[in-house]
Point group: C2
Chain length 338, copies 2
């Protein structure tokens, strides 16, 4: 590998001058600058990034921890982050927590040891303790949380308004005439499953529909199979339900599959609204009415905020945490009337 030293020796000048010439310092003569540039490109010189990192104390690399990569929403977020990072000259190290708090904790340790310039994270469902996140902040590493966040952690956050979106979804069911509306909710922990539940409940109350807790089913792993299972369960428990708001599309697609199998007509007998707007939602039959969750934009936005914080830190400006709330909309399809 070619080094500054070799270029310097070849031209009989000092390493200092070579370094300055390559960085276009104005205090190097035009002639020397040109000579150095030419020699460097002739020798295919590439600055040793390890040395640069050590000197500048930054690596132009950020870390990303995500619960699950094979997931339409999250892979869209990753794509948004990576594309935006590349534009700004940053590379992204991605890690998957697999919805495990323990792994998440270890991975933060890995990234901190690696001295990434900043960290982006969407929390595992299992995460209830936030010491590992505080450690990032104490370590003075910029941190931005997105989608699955912890409200109490002091850092910037990019989210959607889950409560509002769930309210919108439920209101739609009410508007098309549903009287008995069930909800398949996520586990007790991630904030967004709580918020989606609260939005559902609020919409009922605002429309003078009494809240019936037996219509709310709490799922654990939010899988296709769970969707089928609880769809069947619902049919046994409540013959009179005419609408369901389901916490996420994958589960909704499981439910649709089960209803189709049992000959339940959608939307005639039961209306369904999902959440996320996966690609699948548009190709299943009947296609699924759902909340569109802007994954790509969320990724872009999260990186942009992180980038600004990294920059502000470098310039010793004080960092102001921001809460960015992205808009969602309801995509009407065949699984609800009209």
């Amino acid at each position: 590998m070619v080094t500054l030293k070799q270029i310097a020796e070849k031209l009989n000048i000092s390493i200092t001058t070579v370094s300055k010439a390559l960085k276009d310092y104005p205090d190097v003569s035009k002639k020397t600058r040109k000579l150095v540039r030419e020699t460097a490109s002739m020798l295919h010189y590439k600055p040793n990034s390890f040395a640069v990192n050590l000197r500048t104390k930054e690596s132009k690399t950020i870390g990303l921890i995500i619960p699950e990569i094979v997931h339409h929403f999250f892979s869209s977020v990753i794509k948004g982050i990576i594309s935006q990072a590349e534009k700004k000259g940053y590379l992204v190290i991605t890690l998957q927590s697999n919805e495990s708090y323990e792994l998440e904790k270890q991975q933060i340790e890995l990234l901190l040891n690696k001295r990434v310039d900043g960290i982006l994270i969407s929390l595992a469902n299992g995460t209830a303790d936030y010491k590992h996140l505080s450690e990032i902040i104490e370590n003075d590493t910029p941190l931005v949380m997105f989608d699955k966040i912890a409200k109490v952690v002091k850092c910037s956050k990019v989210i959607i308004d889950d409560r509002k979106a769930a309210y919108k979804a439920t209101q739609h069911l009410i508007d098309i005439g549903c009287k008995r509306i069930a909800h398949f909710r996520g586990p007790l922990l991630p904030q967004n499953s709580i918020d989606r539940f609260l939005g559902y409940k609020q919409a009922l109350l605002d429309n003078n529909i009494s809240y019936d807790s037996s219509l709310v089913y709490l799922l654990n792993d939010m899988s296709f199979e769970e969707g089928k299972f609880y769809a069947n369960q619902l049919l046994q428990d409540h013959k009179d339900v005419d609408g369901i708001f389901i916490n996420t599309d994958l589960v909704a697609i499981g439910a649709i599959t089960e209803f189709n199998k049992q000959g339940i007509k959608i939307p005639e007998q039961i209306n369904i609204v999902g959440f996320s707007n996966w690609f699948m939602a548009s190709v299943i039959s009947p296609s699924l009415t759902t909340i569109n969750q802007p994954g790509f934009d969320m990724g872009k936005k999260a990186f942009k905020i992180l980038y600004k914080e990294i920059k502000d830190k470098k310039e010793k400006k004080s960092i102001v945490y921001r809460d960015e709330i992205l808009e969602t909309d309801l995509v009407l399809r065949e699984s609800t009337k009209n």
Copy 2:
């Protein structure tokens, strides 16, 4: 940040001894070793990875270039790579070429400048020239290609036998009685679209079915929309077709959607076999018979080979390139008879 120097000063010993103690060199006394370890953990010492990289000339980081992240198959591959890399203490920098040769080229440059310890790549459809790949090899950076590869490049490769898999898919259509079998193929460039076409053709010939080039449709972007478009086209061109082998599930799902819309019965009027076994293939109606492509295993395997090459290089062993061919199988579902 705590450094070796600070620990040394605190204990009034040399930096050398501290370094050795932390690395469990046998020539440090038990007592000193213990003292150093305790002090280090008390001060939350973390080795500065930038300095370590510079000294050891390795970063325990690899680069990954993939055509498209938001894609069930590729995100499974990424997951396989990342999980395996983490086990071996490696981190993964992911970049997306977006099926563009130009981007791919730039990204290789980025990774080489970053001095990653190795590179994993699946080529963009647009890539026809391989100089940028040779550069990796000349740079003495281990390289493993997977899925979309270039046969002429001298490096290890992890693939499936596309020709054999396509043969199997086509043979299945023949076995269930199809006489006029169409094929929706991918563009002329990626090797696997060529191989899938050849497998299709070979199966016909081996079964004494004459090859009819008008039954082969060449698609460009392999999208859901193209699937719909060519399904419609096929209905206009050839009323007698009773089976289609389609290059990838997404297109097949587009085709199914179009056939459903036009009231064509699957599999009674037309049998369909896809390729990849996306999750979607199992939930569409009718569910799709398809070739299962083991993304997660491919990722794991690709990393394992790369890891071995990195290790061999470090130990100055000569590197033997390997071609790993993973098994695929046909998953029978509702879109084909029986």
